[in-house]
Every structure is written in C-alpha cells, then in structure tokens.
Subunit: 151 residues, 6 copies
C-alpha cells in the first residue's frame, strides 16, 4: 500500500482500472451474515433455495458491494475522499463459487459547485462481472478530490 | 423471522420503520477489513489517525452501509426483491464505540414503466444516526414489489 | 427487531413457533472451533472421520445449541428473561451441509414459588430437525416472565 | 491434544478438573452474535444498556456456555461421548472484560439402565466463575462412557 | 490445558510429539486472508488458479505455519518461552481439503552462551505432513528454557 | 493489486520498502487464537497477565509474523515465489493497541546453486517496529526469483 498524491487535475475521463479476480465463498456469506445480522434464507438455507428459481443460495448484495469496493482500493491518496455511491444495481445473482472481477472507469468529472477552484468530483463507474463475463452489479463511486493548488 | 406477503398496494408513502441501536466496535472494523481487503490506515492505524483531523480510526463506509441495511431487514416478503440503492452519502464519520440507529421511510412509490399492472418500486429513505442524533449516512433503498393480483 | 411487552399471562401452553431453515456450513464449524477452542478431530479432521462410524465431520453440540437458540430469538420482550435450559440432548449428529429448522412450543407454565403474583416460568420445548425431518437436538428453554400487574 | 482411553470404571465421584482463565472480550460477543444471529441490544447496544440495570452490555448465555464447555475439553477419550447437558442456569451476567474460569467435578455416576455391563453416565458439574470468584453459570455435563470390557 | 514446569534438564534430544490431524478448509484461507490482508489470487481466485500449474487455490504459507505451531502447543510450561523459528521451508502446497499432521522432535540442545548455568535452547524440528504422507512444511522452533536450579 | 514481472536481475541489495502502520487489536488476538487453537493465557487471560512481568496480554508470535508478512505483500510478481523464512526472532512483546510498521530490505542475493542462469534467491530482511520505534520482530524472507531470460 503506497501513499501518493493525486489531484483532481491529474485525472481524466476514460481512466480505467481493472482488478484481479476473487472467488466468493460460502465462508464469505457466513461472515457477511454474521456482520450484518441478515440471515435471510436466500443466503443461508440451501434446502429451500433448491426449490426456488435461483436454485441455490445467493450472496448478499451488500457483500458483493463491499468486496467490489474493497477490490478497487489502490494507493492511498491524501487528496481524495470517498463521498458516496450512486445508482447501485444488482443485475444478476452471485452464487457460491463464482469469481468476480471489477473494472472502475472515470466516466464523469465535475467541479465542486461552490468551490470550483478547490475541489471536484470524480464519478467512477464500477462494474462487477462474474467468470462468465456477465455483469452482476454496477455502481458509481463518487470521490471528492482536491485541485492542485497553484504555487 | 416471519414470512409474510406484502404487495406493492399494501404500502404507502410515509410508512416508517425504526430499529433498535447497535454499537459499532473495533471488532466490526477488523472483520470488515478482513472481508473486503481494505486495510487503509484510516480504519486500521490508531497512531496515524491520532495525527489527522478525525483524531481516531473511522469505520469503513461499506461497513456502515452493510450493517444499516442489515438492521432494516424485517419479515421475509416473497413479493419483494431488493433492486438497488440510490444516492448513498457518508455525512459524518462513525467512530469505534458509536451507536447507530436506522430509520427507513417510504418517500416515493412508482409503478414499473413497462408492467404497471404487475409491479412497482418502493423508494425507502434509510437514515443512519449516531448516539448524538447526528445523521451519519443516508441512502435510498429501492425494492421491486409485485402488485396484488386481482381475483 | 421489535420491542413488545408480553406478560406471563399472555402466554398459554401449546403456543408454538417455527423458524425458517439454516444450513450448517463448514465455515460455521471452523468459526465455532475458533470461538470455543474445541479443535477435536471429530469436528476438524475429515480424513480421520472418514474412518469412523459417522463417516464425516460432525458439528459441535454447542454450535447447534447456540444457533438453534439464536434462531428462536424473536421480538424483544422487556418482561421476560432467559433463565436457563433443561435437558439438552444430542439425538443425531449434524453434518456439514445439513439444514436445520427449529420449533419451539410452550409445554409447561409454572408460577414462581415465592412470588406467584409477580412472575412465572415458561418451559419452551425447543426441537431441532434436519432436512430429513429427523430430530437432531432437543432442549427446554426456561424463561422467567413478569405477570401483568393490575391497575 | 492427546488420545487416551478412559473407561467408566476409571472414574469416581469427586474427580475434579480446573481450567486456566479466559477473558471474555467485545470481539467474542461480536463473533457470537455473528454466529447465532442474536443481535439483541442487550449484547450489542452500549448506549441503551447504559440506561438499564446492568449498566453495560452482557455476554450471550450461549457464548458463556460454549466457551466454558470448550475450556473443559481435555484429552480425546475414544470411550466417551457427550450425551447432553442438564440444568443450565445463568446466575450472574458476564460483562466485557470479565475473566472466567471453569471447574468440572463428577458428582454422580449411574450405570446405563438397559446395558449396565457395557456403559454408564458421568454427571459432571460444570461451574463457571468470574474474576471476583462469583459463580456466573452452572450446568451438568452428561457423558456416556463405555465400561472396561473383561478379557 | 495444564500448567507444568519442565526445565531444560528435563528434556533430551530425540524427544518427539505428534498431533492429531486438522483439515485445512476454504474458511481457514478466507479468515487468514482477512487477518493478514493478503488477498493474492493464488489463495483467493479459483478461476485463475485452475489455469495455473497448481490447478487450484493454495493455502497461505503463514496459515500453515500458524496452524502447525498452534497444533504443537501443549501444556503451559512456565520455564520456557518461544524464542524464534529457524529455516522455515514450504516444500509442497497445501490445498483446500488437505489434512495436515505435525510432528515435533528435539534434534538439538545448546546451553545459553553467557548464562550456561541458567538456561539453554531447545531446537525442535517441526514437520508438517499431508494426508498422503508428503512433507509440506518444515521449521525449527527454538525455545529458551530455564535450567533446574540447584537447592 | 497489480501484476508486474520483476526478475532476479531487476533487484539489487539495499532495495527497501516501508509499509503504513497497523494497530494490533484485541480482535486480532481473538481471531488468531481462533485460527490456530492457541488459547494460552498469555494471550487470553487479562487477569493472570496483570500478575506477570509483562503486565498485560501479548500477541501471538505467529500473529505478528503473519500480519507483518501480509503487510509487505505488494504487486503480484509472476517471476517470484515465497521460498521460506530464516531466523525469525521475537525481540519484544506486542501488546493490544500497539501499532506496528514493517520495513523490508534486500540484504543479500544469491544465485541458485544448480541453475545459476535461471534463478536466484532474494534475502529480504523484514523488521517490525512498534509506535515507540522499538524493534519487536525480525525475520529474513527468502524469495526464489527467475532470471531474465535472454532473447
């Protein structure tokens, strides 16, 4: 983990990052149920899910979201902070044993409305795919980033 | 955990739920780092954070999000599915030892564009507050819910 | 999780609750060994258990007990407290991948010997079954519950 | 962990074992909530518990039970199996930071009703105390143990 | 867990201990990644590893090391302390579902250079094997042990 | 996490990396005891340790080792594999709340004895310090790295 200053002005639309893969395990689901208290049978009851359309247990949406965001964490950038997320959509279920990968691409940049000389927002489109290449989740990650100050 | 059918038509704008409290612990942060792989010093390094404006370690945004959504899980409703989240914003940091509560209020309902007779969306505003009554996070949770079928 | 006052006098023998199912996973056993320090090969050594009558690893008794009691936790009742358990019996082993369900039925009620006007005991028979409908564990959960005070 | 045959006939009433201590931590409670799904505010909400008679969060009964039984696990005895528990009573709450110790004493032995030549029950009284010497939990652990076969 | 004084002079070269087995699970790897922050795809990405020579995910070296050392922990010896490890070598990969056993044998003893009357080192060769009898890891565990004081 | 080929010939003695800090928490110790099965009172019994020279619980050696090695994991290098560790020494205890940092410096390089044209060993000295700047652990991490092949 490196610390590296990157300012708003160092970024551009189209900038793109891609992660290695991570297999979502039964242990991940058990741990996520344990962290959140969500023991819904959709995630925890293999017998019942075998009778449902999905046919098997599915990962919690917040698990995939948390892991995917974690997978995109790269260098520490003292000039940026995570501001929020927009439009999180669960496109397809993630099953035990699926392997996800994440791509993150800046698809919009906008200066701060009140302090345009000081900061701006990066809108990073985060796309999570499984081993079949299907998109399972998307979200937009917003970062508030300082502008490079003049000397 | 009860299973109970509730249809789109059984809901109304203004419907509101409130949870009991939950204290966010150091163990929660350690476990969330372990689940997501995000070991940023903002969450894991007490010494360094003592030198930063926050003054202490802060919880991961995805931890608060996951726990808050988990806290709002109530009865199992076979007629509803979690469709996504909109406009997640991290308003204030959550520190180790803070106790959060969650309120969830339906503030918008909209019929499905293509199948208005069959389903609609609930927009539930989820507000997370700490023990001081300060809002720390907000998000809109979208549910896609079946309409009650006529007989 | 709702908070709801229920007094001794609000209950009756025969009252019965039933949970949804939960699959006992390898991760549950690993976590329970980690919590209790019980790493007996009966739970942890797949090779050796393949040579034993059971043929495979079995869940810790205290794991099934803890999960089953947890699964019966419903509303918060300020008038009741968990007093103890009687006659816990492990009837059949629970294997990795088994799905358990729990029924809890009040089969006895008795007033407090010294304060019969103030409190009484509920004896709730907790029965844990697997996906084959076999009973794997039973216990009696005792609650000490306040009597409804007159006005 | 050693494997050592001990038969019913090798035991006697009054036989007594004592463990070292173990401090019950906030992490233990968080992990136990996660394993059982019991997120009752009695265990998880420090703010609310500060307003209650106990004054602070208390450990789950099943946590203390599971840890105490785990602490008494000694050698592996192929001649014995855990048959069940009787009369578990929660005497005093266990708080975060309390250190428990466990003593286990055989206080009754009884031959198997139908197969008295083959097996018998050990009734081991398990007593859990805290760092003040107060008893916090008791239970009777029943073991079914083979009798030494004649040659 | 027993407390038992054993002095340097109570040991001899050739003394040997052997543990029961323990199966290394997917949950162990997930938990070890979570504890160490090492989410390398060698341990976490089943899809990618299927394309590599190993053919499947492998356990972290530090997981096998930590578990193996833990498995050799026996009685508490107030006269000994863990001084360090020498020459840890990872001979073969450990896969999910492999069952390891550990033998520990004192193969060298040496008096403390400056205080030969007071203490000495035990060099214990720790050998980890899998269910096929193949050695997967070796290390030398050094203990600094007090000498029996004369009266 | 990036994948980046670095050959033996791309390294040199004196090359040095430094990590950010990480606070060792009570939860880390609880989780490590749970992973390894080492529940020695030195790590788990606050009451008893208050009567010992250290005055408080200390982290497991294998915890600090595992975390420190994990903290030095950087880019994925397909040309290198972890070969083993030499001379691990525990210099000072690590207490709950201590914050460790790790430096890793190549202090020796040696060609493979039988295949000097193909591979070599990096000897990386890993030094773990606490928040007071005291060294708490050292080890040498050996990597076997391919040599850049001529074209």
């Amino acid at each position: 983990m490196l610390t590296k200053d990157r300012w708003y002005d160092d970024h551009e639309v189209g900038e793109r990052r891609e992660t290695v893969g991570r297999t979502i395990t039964e242990a991940d689901i058990v741990l996520h149920a344990g962290q959140t208290g969500d023991f819904f049978p959709h995630h925890m009851d293999a017998e019942w899910m075998a009778t449902q359309p999905a046919g098997q247990r599915i990962a919690h949406g917040t698990l995939i979201l948390s892991v995917a965001v974690g997978m995109t964490a790269g260098d520490i950038n003292p000039q940026a902070m995570s501001y929020g997320y927009d439009r999180i959509r669960f496109i397809r279920p993630v099953f035990i044993g699926d392997t996800i990968r994440v791509t993150a691409e800046i698809n919009e940049m906008s200066l701060h409305a009140k302090r345009p000389d000081e900061a701006g927002y990066l809108h990073e489109l985060v796309t999570v795919t499984n081993q079949h290449g299907d998109t399972v989740m998307v979200l937009t990650h917003l970062y508030l980033v300082n502008r490079r100050t003049k000397d």
